[in-house]
Symmetry: C2
Subunit: 352 residues, 2 copies
Amino acid sequence: MGDPRTGIGRPTTIVDIARAAGVSKSTVSLVLKGSSLVKTETRERVEAVIERFGYVYNRGAANLRTATSSFVGMVISDLTNPFFAELAVGIEEALYQLGFVPILANTNEDLERQGHVLRSMREHGVAGIIMSPARGTDAWTLANLPARSMPMVITMRRILGSPLPYVGPDNQAGARKAVEHLIGLGHRRIAFMGGFASMTTQQERIAGWRDALLAAGLPFDEGLIFESMPTRDGGKKALEAALATPRPPTAVFCYNDIVAMGATRALSTRGIRPGLDVGVVGFDDIDEAEHNAPPLTTVSADTRAMGARCADSLLGLIRGSGAADMSYTGETRLVVRESCGAPFAARKREYA
Amino acid sequence: MGDPRTGIGRPTTIVDIARAAGVSKSTVSLVLKGSSLVKTETRERVEAVIERFGYVYNRGAANLRTATSSFVGMVISDLTNPFFAELAVGIEEALYQLGFVPILANTNEDLERQGHVLRSMREHGVAGIIMSPARGTDAWTLANLPARSMPMVITMRRILGSPLPYVGPDNQAGARKAVEHLIGLGHRRIAFMGGFASMTTQQERIAGWRDALLAAGLPFDEGLIFESMPTRDGGKKALEAALATPRPPTAVFCYNDIVAMGATRALSTRGIRPGLDVGVVGFDDIDEAEHNAPPLTTVSADTRAMGARCADSLLGLIRGSGAADMSYTGETRLVVRESCGAPFAARKREYA
DNA sequence: CTGAAAGCGCTTACAG
DNA sequence: CTGAAAGCGCTTACAG
């Protein structure tokens, strides 16, 4: 609308409103925040002027004055990974609900980029940060971040030795459920596929895999761990490595869903039927898991809810809660579809 | 660091720096912006204090004073669609490079939510907005948005009748290439699958499909259009509808890659081999297209580059360029993989 | 119930 | 080359 007095495009401010309504800017500020101090008649007059001028509240100015911020930094390690996209959506939605606005940065697993965006966010005065750290981020990195001293929650990748609150699924328990299911289906040689030993998430999922094996009295064979990039292509390569082995596994538990997708695909390509000839289980339950060929049996951590939980934890931190209290480990649940071979096993049993 | 004088956690400001360095805050401001006016010795002294105090520049305060903004709103219609995730990554990266910081909103195709986030972004003083409009957004909606009057570029979904600059791929030409390829492979009954007639993107891609058909002297049969949600599940349903037809198509050109994935999957499920028995082509060339079973032949619009282009256009707008000059239609190119049946056709020719 | 005044952390002419 | 002063658009005691 600009300034009606000058015709120039300068945005309208509360001073303009005050003048036009014949009140002081204090009063305008009061009606803006819906204070009950203002007489009804005055309030209505001011609101009419606000409407007429198309006034836009300048939250930045207000935040400067009150030394608060409604921005939150959302630092994602790889937004093109469907899992993180879903997480980002969960965080974003919760943030808006809580009255915050997310500043997005996709680090693409680049530590240097991570440092840059964190610095930028700090200068932009975010109230706090939610971050899925880029690979290679360690406690020392975190401690020396430009963002230290501001509220920050780490998600999805636990950083050993860091006191920052961590929000993520119970990887070990989830993995154990998945592998127990495979064992229940009759599998005895179950490989672990994807990720690298340096990743805490892999360590936790491997621990769960081993738990299930040991509990069933099966040997824990490190030769059945096939590391790879946690991607579709990584899943393909890991699967091929497993197949090249003297005694290939009859089932594979994968680091995540996209690894599992790469694995099922590689299996199909070689004429081996995933879910029938080889059991495959993933982790994450991303949206497309059910559209895989065959539909993926996987461990769900309720990604969106986890995102909301990140926002809650950050809010707690901002409000002064202790970091430890704001940590959260989410329950997981096994979603049985076809890739694990469950329907096949059932059929086998049926016709046996 | 807080204030060394009080020990209290109040953030350090240029006034603190000025006092400690024995200069005025004007001088501190000058060294902050790297002005050559400041004597080297003074500059170094000030910089040392800045370093010692761990001073953090308050960009919000600076922006208030200069009436500028380094925020840009990025409004995405559905971030869980891999195509839009890639677009978002492209936009985000370019924005940081240009010195801006993106505020993210995922509208999830909800018009009401779109209105809310736009209003919120305006209050937060964004310099402009890049938006892939939610389905159902029309020129009237756009004209009455809280965000009207601020620089805005529309991407990926053209809004007829709106003067706002539009950045997107050449859908019609891209679709034509895809269908011409299918025709070259010997197909005569080629269906169009996915999306709805109300979507301009569908209209444009259908136009290209028809262009190719007509140019080859083939009939344009509206009965070969199978509408559906532009999702994996939509692709599945559209494919089933086509199969239920008296004379099913021998090839399908899909609205986008995820529809094509749903279609190939539905085909496989029924024992029909995509790429061998039925040709399938997608649009977008999302990252996972090459990992589909079979790998998807698709039309690439170079999504990341398109995102960068959105950022460039917005910057142009902010700098005062006309909306028309900032519109951009991207070249497309056909990426031939296996789902179209090209290798099969080649093989057939080879052994014929 | 409303207004005058101070101040949030910066930048930018303007003096000197 | 550097400093004093004004001002960006708000909020918040404090008077009255």
